[in-house]
């Protein structure tokens, strides 16, 4: 019972962090939320994987956050450029996040038939992360935001997939994918930097 409550608490944390990632424009807050998101994900994965393997997700996630953070720290401070093509209002993003939450809440019971071996909090948490990540990708074209969106989608996918597949090789490959994505993002951030300075 207590474990179920804590699992739902982890889902609540995922809701807060993924919504926060969508709303905040400060990269420090974003990376802090991402790190917290990986902690909640770790808790959900722990239901299916032994501690040592689940910890790989947490350590990888924190390494990802650190890699992006260190790269961003080395770049000049500036306001994030507004994206003309996308709706920017916080109210709009909150509304869109609300739709994702509603979709997740309505889809979880139906999908629990398909994923019979997966507990409701894990299913809800993973669907929520995937939905929020896709929403994030849909409303931004900035490198940092895109990488955060992709990492969120992958975190959601990995949470669910951990309940279905416990191969060490897959865990290792997915950890490399996450780190690779962070490094690719860091590379693109640094290569984007000079031109962005010019446009200021």
């Amino acid at each position: 019972m207590a474990a179920a409550v804590i699992s739902w608490l982890a889902v609540g944390i995922l809701l807060a962090t993924s919504t926060g990632l969508l709303l905040t424009r400060d990269w420090r807050w974003s990376l802090g939320l991402l790190a917290l998101q990986y902690f909640a994900m770790f808790w959900l994965v722990l239901q299916y994987w032994p501690f040592g393997m689940a910890a790989v997700k947490l350590v990888t996630g924190w390494m990802v956050s650190a890699a992006i953070g260190i790269t961003r720290l080395g770049l000049p401070e500036k306001e994030e450029a507004a994206e003309a093509a996308w709706p920017q209002g916080r109210l709009f993003r909150l509304f869109a996040a609300g739709i994702v939450v509603l979709t997740t809440a309505s889809a979880t019971p139906g999908l629990s038939n398909l994923f019979a071996s997966v507990s409701a909090p894990v299913l809800a948490g993973s669907l929520l992360l995937m939905g929020m990540g896709l929403l994030h990708l849909g409303i931004t074209g900035q490198v940092l935001r895109v990488v955060l969106g992709l990492l969120t989608v992958l975190a959601g996918f990995e949470t669910l997939y951990a309940a279905l597949e416990s191969s060490i090789l897959v865990a290792a490959l997915l950890a490399v994918v996450n780190l690779g994505l962070a490094l690719a993002g860091a590379y693109l951030l640094t290569s984007a930097a000079p031109a962005e300075e010019e446009s200021e």
Binding site: F157, E165, L173, L183, Y187, P194
Partner: protein, 465 residues
């Protein structure tokens, strides 16, 4: 020695090692020779057969264990490895002519090693994360450190990353279908997941918009390498699914979806190419049409269809390499690849323009060129199934042909008193000359590829019969 170490481990180690070489020429020779030697070993040394060399007994074991799973390359994979590493050698030797050796060779060897790992990994659906890691490795190849990343690279990253979850989920669902074959709903769900995954991975209509974007914003030789190696190897991944799961290869709906997607890519690629005014984007649309041809061949679901897929491998690799090299060679002589900027280019670099046009015509399936036997075989197979679909393929080919004719018209459109020049280095001329010769040889003597292709069907237990 194990086959996975030789064809996966060696390129993965050779890539970083080439970074310590200082001169472009040394990097090119190192990368080209490494790939060529691996191709020759794959061609002449049988896997899992003991060979006596004097007093020494040499045997390449087919599999190796890594983290509890197996990487396996058997005798049937030998021909494919020879083709892949042989074409890679061509790309690496051409890299010096393109001025891209220092980036292409280290990263290209790594990508190739990972993509071969995707063929070798068991269970085979674990190939998805391996392909994703290879895709991430292309980022520094496509974007220079001093270049602002454009929309193309961002979309490429998004689409390739989204492909992996869909394919892994599809693999899990397909395992369920295997255990309960009567569950129609599960079969539909898994097929839909798989379709979405491969739509992202192979840049199937309408998810291909990153290709022309990338060819506008990134070095053409690097994008060309990407457009050669990824579709060539991921297509084997798709055929692996079709071969493994009976319900997929016998499902008329799934095969019809493949055929429709293929036709859409050929027709839209052809039509956009016909109206295109940018040489880079033109190459992008031709690459899209090439993937469409592959999907069409896969949808034929017969021994002939599989043979057509194998037949495409070498002409596609060679044509893309020649096209990308030609674009790279003319790049310093023009301000951009727009039609207004390349007007009269044939007088300034006739060899590169000839290579460009011939590579384009080869994609169209022009007689005497490398693509001709492939298009003919595909068209014949398609016409046997439906004349209407064969007609749609013709529309796509005519669009591509119109693009080639327009390119030719623009590049030869110079004032009469403009003098002919011979720009470009000797290495560039040599590589372009070899490429043009190869396009003609494969077109006139397609049977020259037969020794490489004859064993490939053995890779697939059911479709290869």
């Amino acid at each position: 020695m194990t086959a996975p170490f030789l064809w996966i481990g060696v390129p993965l180690l050779a890539g970083p090692f080439s970074l310590i070489l200082r001169r472009d020429r040394a990097v090119t020779i190192f990368g080209g020779l490494t790939a060529a030697i691996l191709a020759l070993i794959a061609l002449f040394v049988p896997i899992d057969v003991a060979m006596l060399i004097g007093p020494l007994s040499l045997k390449i074991s087919p599999s190796a264990q890594i983290l509890g799973r197996s990487l396996s390359l058997d005798q049937a994979d030998g021909s494919l490895l020879a083709i892949l590493y042989g074409l890679a050698a061509l790309w690496f030797f051409g890299a010096q002519a393109a001025g891209a050796a220092r980036r292409l060779v280290p990263i290209g060897l790594g990508i190739l090693g990972l993509l071969v790992a995707s063929i070798a990994v068991q269970p085979f659906l674990f190939a998805a994360p391996t392909i994703q890691i290879a895709a991430l490795l292309t980022v520094p190849l496509l974007v220079r450190p001093d270049q602002t990343p454009g929309r193309g690279i961002v979309r490429f990253l998004i689409y390739q990353t989204l492909a992996m979850p869909f394919i892994l989920f599809a693999g899990w669902l397909l395992a369920g279908v295997e255990s309960s074959p009567g569950d129609l709903e599960l079969a539909v769900q898994s097929a839909a997941m798989l379709g979405l995954g491969f739509a992202f991975l192979l840049a199937v209509f309408p998810l291909y918009n990153w290709i022309p974007m990338l060819l506008e914003e990134s070095p053409p030789y690097a994008v060309g390498f990407l457009l050669w190696c990824f579709p060539s190897i991921t297509s084997f991944f798709l055929i692996g699914f079709l071969d493994r799961y009976t319900f997929l290869r016998t499902s008329p709906a799934f095969l019809a979806a493949l055929q429709t997607a293929g036709l859409l890519m050929v027709v839209t690629g052809g039509i956009w190419a016909a109206f295109q005014r940018h040489l880079g984007r033109m190459m992008g649309y031709a690459a899209i049409a090439e993937t469409g041809f592959f999907l069409l061949a896969a949808s034929l679901n017969s021994g002939a269809g599989i043979q057509t897929i194998f037949l495409q491998l070498v002409p596609r690799g060679l044509g893309t390499a020649v096209w990308a090299l030609a674009l790279t060679v003319v790049q310093p002589q023009v301000e951009g690849f727009g039609f207004s900027e390349v007007r009269g280019l044939a007088r300034r670099n006739p060899l590169a323009v000839a290579a460009l046009i011939l590579a384009h015509l080869s994609v169209v399936g022009f007689p005497l060129l490398a693509g001709f036997p492939v298009r003919l075989a595909l068209w014949e197979g398609l016409a046997r199934q439906s004349l209407g679909q064969a007609a749609w393929m013709l529309v796509g080919l005519l669009g591509l042909l119109a693009g080639a004719v327009r390119t030719l018209a623009v590049t030869v459109m110079a004032d009469e008193d403009t003098a002919w020049q011979w720009n470009g280095t000797q290495v560039q001329s040599l590589m372009l000359g070899v490429g043009i010769l190869g396009i003609f040889v494969l077109g006139i003597f397609p049977q020259a590829m037969q020794p490489f292709l004859v064993n490939l069907p053995a890779m697939f237990e059911h479709l290869g019969r």
